[in-house]
Symmetry: C2
Subunit: 318 residues, 2 copies
């Protein structure tokens, strides 16, 4: 069986740990198509937060406390940059992370596409799945906000890390998306998939930027594989991150029904065949979408693997 | 009084500590014109070993034990790069150093010339002198060597750091020198100088690449300021570094007379008006050059300042 997962960073990475565990059990191949909208160049380094979260988590090197970056991280480079007053000073650039960014940036500057760079980095981390960026082209999520009385578009990282999303926010723009092509391997993976899972990532700034790549979205919608999403909202609250703030910006209810409705069913020109919600949200209905309620708390690998099994069952491929 | 010093890295940096001390005493301005031949781009970072040695030393942040780099340096980035098998693995890229290189590379990539970048970095380090790279253009010292039975040109850093100069060595090539222009401010500094000092740096790979910039050399030779050199050789041995290996490659005797003869006097179309040698080398004569012998061991700032006073005296400007 071939499983494709559309995914963002931290929540998606935890979900992928369960996907990998279940896939090993049933002998399936897994390809993660990872959001690049958070990617940003800072201090000359190309930083890919979601790809790194997935890579470090599956490589067993993620910091479980902080939720992002490397375990045992040190901060000498960041402190030194601050002493040079080098902007931005609000970004958490760890020393170990810096080495990853140096390798990536050097390869990108030498002309390798991000997908090839990611494969090269994964030679070290052995994530046990195929990791693909959604696109090799520039695609950045910018946020239209009011800061100090001025309306402007800032990079998603600035919105999230610097302002914690706590500024008047009007909309999200996926810069470059319209011209972006799916990264090498993405269309093949989706075209050959037996099932496409949508990880319980932020629908607005993790999943939407992936689907903002026109040919990628088309291939998911037109492809033969059933699409099953896993709700990132449990009992009306985001499990992690800022899905609530993002959904509010779009005027979408912070609920399993709200996100499911945002993705929408195939008959409504939407994404989903199935929608997996938490038992707390049992009874959620989305027009044209089969829903099922199971425990969605990713407390450990086994619990997450059970969610994945339920998603595959819902897709009719278990 | 305006003092210009042509200088390389570590030995030159120590010399400059004495120049600065003496200049403060007599109320003189100091401009260091620093070798860039050792500069190299590694892991996408523009590394300027000599500029950094001078900047860190005068900024009070150099490691006195190791002789290069930052005191209290850590090595996380380097270890991580090695785990990615990112070449080259033989270069000592410290974490603190990495921040300097990130700031520099970001500014260079944004279009600022190296002289402006150096000034920006010095805003933090306050070296107390003006630091100028010899050129803002690309100028790299490469070394023609035999490695594994093959004759090839390698970067000076590879020759020095990786091979410790211990390979059959044929010659040094200053790539880009012929087309290089003096950096912003260099010609003005030399033209307005009351005296030009040649630091006791490696004559072959620290001073020669500076003078390989045609207009820079011309301005020193044709300028009104007397030129006094300080011997890097005491009693037939290099005080530090690999001047002996470099001189041997050129077939020049490792002695105060050998180096003085290499620089040569004005009447021989050379550089020097005066040549300061150690008391161990008293009696050294260079045609057309006034020599004087004083203690040249830079044991501390005061001893080095006395050397500088003697050099100014020899130049007739004290």
């Amino acid at each position: 069986m071939r499983i494709v997962v559309l995914t963002g960073g931290i929540g998606g990475a935890r979900f992928l740990v369960g996907v990998r565990a279940h896939a090993r059990e049933i002998g399936a191949d897994v390809t993660a198509v990872v959001n690049v909208g958070d990617d940003v160049r800072m201090h000359g380094l190309q930083i890919c937060p979601d790809l790194d979260s997935v890579m470090y988590t599956l490589g067993g090197a993620a910091d479980p406390e902080r939720g992002w970056g490397r375990v045992g991280e040190t901060w000498v480079v960041k402190e030194e940059l601050a002493r040079y007053a080098a902007e931005p000073t609000w970004f958490g650039l760890g020393d170990k992370d810096t080495a990853t960014h140096l390798v990536r940036t050097t390869m990108l500057n030498a002309g390798y596409p991000l997908s090839a760079v990611t494969a090269a980095l994964c030679a070290r981390w052995q994530p046990g799945i195929t990791m693909l960026p959604a696109t090799d082209d520039r695609l950045e999520t910018h946020v239209v906000v009011d800061v100090e009385g001025e309306r402007k578009a800032i990079h998603f990282q600035e919105w999230w890390v610097r302002y914690r999303g706590d500024v008047p926010t009007h909309r999200f723009v996926f810069v470059g998306a319209e011209a972006a092509k799916p990264a090498a391997g993405v269309l093949e993976a989706i075209g050959n998939a037996d099932v496409v899972l949508v990880a319980p990532s932020n629908p607005v700034v993790s999943i939407a930027p992936i689907l903002a790549v026109p040919l990628l979205k088309e291939t998911v919608l037109d492809g033969p594989a059933p699409v099953v999403g896993v709700s990132p909202i449990i009992g009306g609250a985001a499990v992690r991150g800022m899905a609530d703030r993002c959904l509010a910006t779009l005027g979408v209810e912070v609920s399993a029904a709200g996100v499911g409705g945002l993705y929408a069913g195939r008959t409504d020109n939407g994404l989903l065949d199935g929608w997996l919600v938490d038992t707390a949200d049992e009874g959620t209905t989305i027009p044209g979408v089969t829903t099922r309620a199971v425990p969605l708390w990713m407390t450990d690998e086994a619990a997450t693997a059970r969610m994945v099994a339920a998603a595959l069952e819902l897709a009719g491929v278990a």
